[in-house]
Symmetry: C2
Amino acid sequence: MPVLPSGVLGALDPTSDRAVFRQIADQLREAIDKGKFAEGDKLPSETELVEHYGVSRMTVRNSLSVLQGEGLVVSEHGKGVFVRPRPPVRRLASDRFARRHREQGKSAFIVEADAAGSHPTVDSLEIKEERPSQDIATRLGGPRRVLARRRRYLLDGRPVEFATSYLPLDLARGTPIAEPNPGPGGIYARLEELGHRLDHFEEEIRARMPAPSEVKTLQLASGVPVIHLVRTAFDTEGRAVEVCDTVMAADAYVLAYQLPAT
Amino acid sequence: MPVLPSGVLGALDPTSDRAVFRQIADQLREAIDKGKFAEGDKLPSETELVEHYGVSRMTVRNSLSVLQGEGLVVSEHGKGVFVRPRPPVRRLASDRFARRHREQGKSAFIVEADAAGSHPTVDSLEIKEERPSQDIATRLGGPRRVLARRRRYLLDGRPVEFATSYLPLDLARGTPIAEPNPGPGGIYARLEELGHRLDHFEEEIRARMPAPSEVKTLQLASGVPVIHLVRTAFDTEGRAVEVCDTVMAADAYVLAYQLPAT
DNA sequence: CAGTGGTCTAGACCACTGC
DNA sequence: CAGTGGTCTAGACCACTGT
């Protein structure tokens, strides 16, 4: 019979107004914060917690689901409940679309991940002509049809980002942009070759909990939000030439921006 | 005896591998997405769902907790479970720290909220001299002590943001920056008057689920992540003169940035 | 007061994991 | 196989809301 590590978890306070399952969650959270359970460590099993606290199993499970909702732990069927490991974080710098970064051969994602020592992959590439949603159409100035480029990015086998680029069809059809591999420098380099010299990008950032489909494609643990980023690329004539809609696993990213003080 | 709106919710598929509580959650989610329950609407009560689906109450509660985790519904004790209303969103533009916005009297938050027709408030103002955390110290170039200005921002009575500004103590002590009201244009205007002409800001953005203390101060519904923003202000000599650590209710914000293409 | 959600019990059976 | 978490039942009592 396994025994709990002594002294890690205390006793319940029966005089407290705080619900029992919250008290248990508090004690586990504190133990994790203090490092008594390290990243990747297994928490005591539900059975052990039931015995330690003298409560029913549903109460213990309720406690654990609180911690899951906070993103502190993940449960693995048949194995146990573990302190959620913090994945390596990808830092998106504010100069990531600078023209000088486009001169090379590979895509920004590949170059950057290689440099960070990660193994990058891109999959589920899909290129379609379609009717834009209301929002995308507005951002692009109202084209009736667009070219949509969808792809998923993975780091070391783990999906971290799902992105769709939309371009006005009259601009992209029949160009390398409509090809699976648009060539060195990506579609921004191709746009410039087509005479759309890029002037600036606008990015809008939101954070929210993922929809079920996003949980699936990004293999998100519960308690992990997504960052929803919508970028619009403008050429020097002020025309919106591309909108890129990106959903990122929030625990895999830090976004960095530089703002002028003038 | 209240009766369920006919046709809104279907039946369970006993042949499906999908867990019953997930099937129920799916049906409720679909009904919400389709607008059959609008924002602020009350869902059927747990008792009604128990009767409709012929399952136990715990199963129904499990379904509802799934939707709560997704941020789709909020429950109110003694009243019911409601489709979560989308609060008005505050848009932070990339030029929000431009010098021209500092020339006026009030703080950026107040001016902007007034313009948007909201009623802004600032509370729990706290100004302290303290020892900086490792992270803050590093960002500020290693001062031994800092001035910390903490405050909470509310829109129409709802807390939306909690921010702490840190400044090297040698720079801020005895200046208006250490006063509760630093005067027109805020601390950035005062910094410039003190000879620290601002050059640019760097912002780092993360999203995650809130810690329990953040749930409390921001009165967050479950299923609402926070945006964690750390901004560093640099003067024209390249010195970091302020770090502002901000935690925002993610459902109340859209951040907008402009990136150069060069 | 009746109706609502919040907490908790004491079981049961299942599916997945590792030995 | 034993141990783990996943699902579900059928109750119980409580606290909060509105009338």
